[in-house]
Symmetry: C2
Subunit: 327 residues, 2 copies
């Protein structure tokens, strides 16, 4: 990564090898003002806050096949938020404050309009997440991607004090689970979504299916800075509640969720309404209305639900329950 | 990113949508012991060393079309080192010590053998670079990549004391430039290499063309810990010496390199021997034998060349010289 975002690859007069340097240069200039940080030429930096015993926490993710649906529907401007959210929502699950974000954008043939739109969307999402987009890489790989195809990967790092690290080891029997609504399907389950669309079981409604993934950084930092006794948290991604919520719980404790306490949301309802996906499969594929679950000491639940937009108690942690029971 | 490396995407019984979960599970198990760090379930962490005024430095890169040549020749085991080197060599240019690395591997269809080979190769390279492979993401994206195609992106973060940050502002007229040999073409210029091969101007000799990128972390840290008065450094990637070395120099100072002081190496000689690329173009496309250039105060040059394997003085910094002159 370079201070001015770089376009990887080859130089000089071989546009005939498929690399368009005029487009690359145009791209670099157009996005230069979107990238912050960058203390020097070869790698970008930000100051670390003074801390007692810091852990550096890092996460990487992509947006999966949601980007294919976005390309098919011609609406790319939410993908940056999806990408940033997928990474930073993992960081806050351990209590880390995201500091920096970098993206890797690989294209078959660089289209400066598309690339600039994607990077602008990433920069906007970084502002929402309170982290600096310190750089990124745009790779033009003519033999690997078809001309209009691209892939996006993101990388976030942040810090947490060691003694404030959230995790399963803090969780006790009787703790409550506060669910925070998702904004839609977020960035998981899109191979199934595209299959349902191709079968004509599902209408490809962009408002329903491309809503950007909610960023939970503000919610989580408000809770932590407000002194809420948060134990652990689970970002509900691929595998849904049954696979992700147990990662916030220790061995021997399970979660019992009350299905009447939250709203599935329009997108999950639309999936179920196709009649092609049974509810159990849907719960294992989509977030089903809850994008983040926070495990909290019982005395902190009221404060937490007041601080977090749409948050409500959706269940509790119980000995004897195995995995996630939805009743 | 998850403590156990995750395979992104969708779950359950929809292998028919193109996502193979048995292969994914096999992949996850096989690479689990390669991933270190990971303090908790959702994002991975390492302790930060005690520092006075730390900067967090981050870098991202890919391996470009070298991976297409590696796939064509059926030799993938050097790509992990290429990926790690491209990222960590940028970090050490500013004096940062790499701490963590994460990879993003996107495939059309998951082949556990190929993926495990790639991640093993990445893990080995992280050991060489002295950083922890704290996690990564494997994305199976059937509609985006052809079945046997994949892309790789890497992310590295490290730290440096603010008052030890290297960079152009430290450089003075009369400083010397120590070049460190490259191991071959490293990871740049491969669109041109593949074009030369397709024209039958160049023999696709894997030993010559796929040698993994040299990792300069050990060299640079030895110099810094040895008290060598290093000013700045340039990782010679796309654009070659003419585009990368000036990034280690301030406005108004140029570099004058003596071409007789270093060896181009066999790979660069083979490119020139095709007769299809003139020397000036080759210098703007390939590293031409020097993968890293370190700018050092004159009194430190002898100590530096003694500490760095193959390092030698290749030029000097001069007022009046513009950009990079090779004489």
């Amino acid at each position: 990564m370079r201070q001015r975002r770089s376009v990887m690859g080859e130089r000089l007069s071989y546009r005939d090898a498929g690399v368009d340097l005029d487009a690359a240069s145009n791209h670099t200039e157009r996005i230069a003002n979107l990238v912050s940080g960058g203390v020097t030429g070869f790698a970008a930096g930000v100051p670390l806050p003074p801390m007692r015993d810091p852990l550096l926490i890092s996460s990487t993710d992509g947006v999966g096949t949601k980007l294919l649906l976005a390309q098919e529907l011609g609406l790319l401007d939410g993908l940056g938020q999806d990408l940033v959210a997928m990474c930073v929502n993992d960081l806050v699950c351990v209590g880390a404050r995201p500091l920096v974000f970098l993206d890797y954008l690989a294209v078959g043939k660089l289209d400066p309009d598309v690339s600039a739109e994607l990077v602008a969307s990433i920069a906007g999402a970084c502002a929402l997440a309170g982290c600096a987009l310190v750089g990124g890489e745009t790779a033009e790989l003519p033999g690997l991607y078809a001309p209009h195809h691209f892939d996006l990967a993101g990388f976030a790092s942040g810090v947490v004090e060691r003694d404030e690290l959230l995790g399963p080891e803090r969780v006790a029997d009787g703790d409550l689970i506060v669910g925070i609504p998702s904004s839609g399907l977020h960035s998981n389950g899109y191979s199934l979504v595209r299959k349902l669309i191709s079968e004509r079981s599902l209408v490809p409604d962009p408002g329903l299916l491309l809503e950007p993934t909610r960023i939970y950084v503000g919610d989580m930092l408000a809770a932590l800075e407000g002194g809420v006794p948060v134990r652990s948290a689970a970002h509900i991604t691929g595998g849904g509640l049954p696979e992700n919520l147990p990662r916030a719980l220790p061995e021997g404790l399970g979660a019992r969720l009350d299905r009447t306490t939250w709203d599935l949301g329009d997108a999950a309802r639309a999936i179920l309404a196709t009649g092609r996906v049974d509810e159990q499969e849907a719960f294992r594929t989509f977030n089903m209305g809850l994008g983040m679950c926070i495990v909290v000491a019982p005395e902190g639940a009221e404060q937490l639900t007041a601080l977090v937009d749409g948050g409500r108690v959706v269940g509790e942690v119980r000995t004897g329950a195995t995995g996630v029971e939805v009743v």
